[in-house]
Symmetry: C2
Subunit: 120 residues, 2 copies
């Protein structure tokens, strides 16, 4: 790594964008394919109606998610990843692999640290 400064800034930008509470979850589920609003809401435990709307708006604004509304009654709106959004799933999967492989190490370090802190 030579130009750490520039890498850091752009990385920090992306992390700031996708680092909120729900964005990665939404992206992950949309990487499976197109989903309707309520389908997403049902698949993502704990997300509120409002936050799903906001999260999808943000992703749509950044060109990562495409929204398709059908003028039917009742309304039907489908969301899917754009090519740009799909290109992000690769790097995210890399990070996810690291996460799965190293989660035990993280938890072990955490409990060890807390035990040391508790004892002094």
């Amino acid at each position: 790594m030579e130009n750490v400064e520039a890498e850091c800034r752009s990385l920090a930008e992306v992390i700031a964008r996708i680092g909120d509470k729900w964005t990665v979850m939404v992206c992950g589920h949309l990487s499976e394919g197109t989903h309707r609003f309520n389908a997403l809401k049902h698949r993502i435990p704990g997300i509120s109606h409002r936050m799903l709307t906001i999260t999808l708006r943000g992703l749509e604004r950044d060109g990562l998610v495409a929204r398709k509304a059908y003028a039917t009654v009742p309304p039907k709106v489908e969301y899917c990843l754009t090519p740009l959004g799909q290109s992000l799933t690769g790097p995210l999967a890399t990070l996810a692999s690291w996460a799965r492989e190293n989660r035990p190490a993280l938890e072990q370090a955490r409990t060890a640290f807390d035990r040391r802190a508790a004892q002094g």
Copy 2:
């Protein structure tokens, strides 16, 4: 991608952990090598004394950063990445590359979206 559910959860965990305002910055600079507290503080524009302390504590707790204190006057404390922390820089660099390559597309999508929203 078959098991999206599990991948999502572990990924969301890591994102939640490193997705705060300063962690990636600190990791990035420590990936260059060992640094003292004030060195980090000066290299990371805008970070407060308090937040640098908290961020480093969190990283140390998770076993990503090692802290070495010298019993001198004045005190001298050095921070560096652990092997676990170094193993994270790979996936992060992948994400950083994506960020640098696609930042123009993101900004373009954003302005286009905002223009559409402004006009109706």
